[in-house]
Symmetry: C2
Subunit: 332 residues, 2 copies
Amino acid sequence: MDIKEVGKLAGVSKATVSRVLCNSPLVAKGTRKKVLDIIEQVNYLPNYLARSLKVKATKTIGVVVPDIGNPFYFEVIRGIEKILDKENFSIMLCSSDYNEKKEMRYISLLASKKVDGLIVAPVSEESKGVDNLIKWEIPFIVFDLPQKRLKINSIFVDHSKCSYMATRHLIENGHKNIIAIDFLKHSQASSRFISGYLKALNENNIPLKPELIIEEEANIMGGFKAIKKFLAKKTFFTGAITVCDLSAVGIYKAARKFNFRIPDDVSVIGNDDIPLSKYLNPPLTTIHQPSYLLGYKSAKSLLKQIQNKTDNNVEVTELDVRLIKRSSVKKL
Amino acid sequence: MDIKEVGKLAGVSKATVSRVLCNSPLVAKGTRKKVLDIIEQVNYLPNYLARSLKVKATKTIGVVVPDIGNPFYFEVIRGIEKILDKENFSIMLCSSDYNEKKEMRYISLLASKKVDGLIVAPVSEESKGVDNLIKWEIPFIVFDLPQKRLKINSIFVDHSKCSYMATRHLIENGHKNIIAIDFLKHSQASSRFISGYLKALNENNIPLKPELIIEEEANIMGGFKAIKKFLAKKTFFTGAITVCDLSAVGIYKAARKFNFRIPDDVSVIGNDDIPLSKYLNPPLTTIHQPSYLLGYKSAKSLLKQIQNKTDNNVEVTELDVRLIKRSSVKKL
DNA sequence: ATGAAAGCGCTAACAC
DNA sequence: GTGTTAGCGCTTTCAT
């Protein structure tokens, strides 16, 4: 069933049907009703594919995040959804699994599907996918990880600041042997998370022990594995910072399994402050990141970009983070 | 940049370009290379919109869930994503916010965008959106809430069984005054959650007190509000069952705010067993639902449906649930 | 092995 | 106000 057929049944041309579908004022009241009745009757469903091909807009935007299973990104997506829904845009969601190849593939895919724009949380600071977006002249905005090449719309949080604050807080509480659990990089990108950690150690004249740094998947299992490895190597530590709260939960898991206590035996500080962190046992001390806002602002900015094609000035916004003290850190 | 232009640059017709794009064997090796080189050179991006219009398939499926912010649905989506990704399908994600109107709107939207199929967790047992899907002859599968009209592909969990098990467990622990926090219905649909609760009370000769039943949004805030209202009315209770773990967390929140203890003052049992429940303080006793599997199986079944158009037998699968005893219930 | 041409379902410019 | 028509960018017969 297409507009042509609807037109035939209503005794008008397909152009007229199209007009009533688009709410064009150029159609007589009676005709409109006639057409609408037929549409109702035959349960006609417009084909947006055809429409999009013609008008060169799909009213959908693509979102690619590193891990759809992380509540942090969920919050971001909620923020995106909130504003996109208002403007009748749909979301196409992809999870790159912290994999640059996959990220690249998804970005191409979404571009081919002619999304009107993309919101991407790149896996590295030099995403090849982002380079292509520029080449293809597709509106997009990057969040979470700032990209090194400056002139790109982005809104982010300084990850090195997060790890710096966490490490410093631990140091202030008398900790010197602090492990850092970063996310697993599928390339040898430099890590802002580690650089903040280093800075804090440095400022306090604590020599770096490289064996205290580890990379694992940024989820519960990853955090668990990290601790398992440290324990196996009999590494001594009293504090831990993690790249995300989920990894910190992995430490909680390890604590039950290997019989150590948080914070009595090890103090832990997470990063991102997912909604459930405050209800953990013990409530997790963490660095709060404005995840919902990250999504909200990204979507808003992208939409603006899509709507006023003219306005080409780039916006780079850094959002604040703050330390949330709860009960997973003990003073030595 | 389109295939015609690419063809011109490569000195062939657009038909030939299309053939190399589709990996057709009917193109000479040399020609293929020539075309591929140009494509690479000019950074050509195929337009899947046009392709989809022609081949009548979009390689994307629509997913509509009641609440994208609930980790339970996240898990489901992870399961869906897992298998769809393997088959190179994309996901269009929508959140109906437990609102039937919105659910209907999204289903129409996705249908208009010509998704190849839909996975929907309907808000009610008689979803109007689902009715339309049948009319439009679009492949789909329903999960979570079984629909009353039988002949529909679905895979679900019996919610009345969940609440029954939870209530019974509380009764076995000596509780008689048990509140039930259901999700907020925007229509007056009957609730399977409540019916299981009723059944357990009945079997144990505990008279129903209607004032112990409440409907709130199925999230942390909703659970919190429910308790606030009970407290305001000085309702007496020692146990609580909730429609999802997030609502149970709302009780945890209320416990801190209003100074009661879990499980000493009130025992609580959640429902769905989100990944973080075991790390809560105290670890939450709950009914485990196979969320990831729900998504995984739904996607698998939908894909089968899409691929063998012939095979029209419907599959109705009920998945098992089980009580997970942790530490949020106290024996009276 | 390649090209010409029809057509997927729609919109919009143009004619009346 | 309404109809006719030319595309949007692609795939796919049908010729050659």
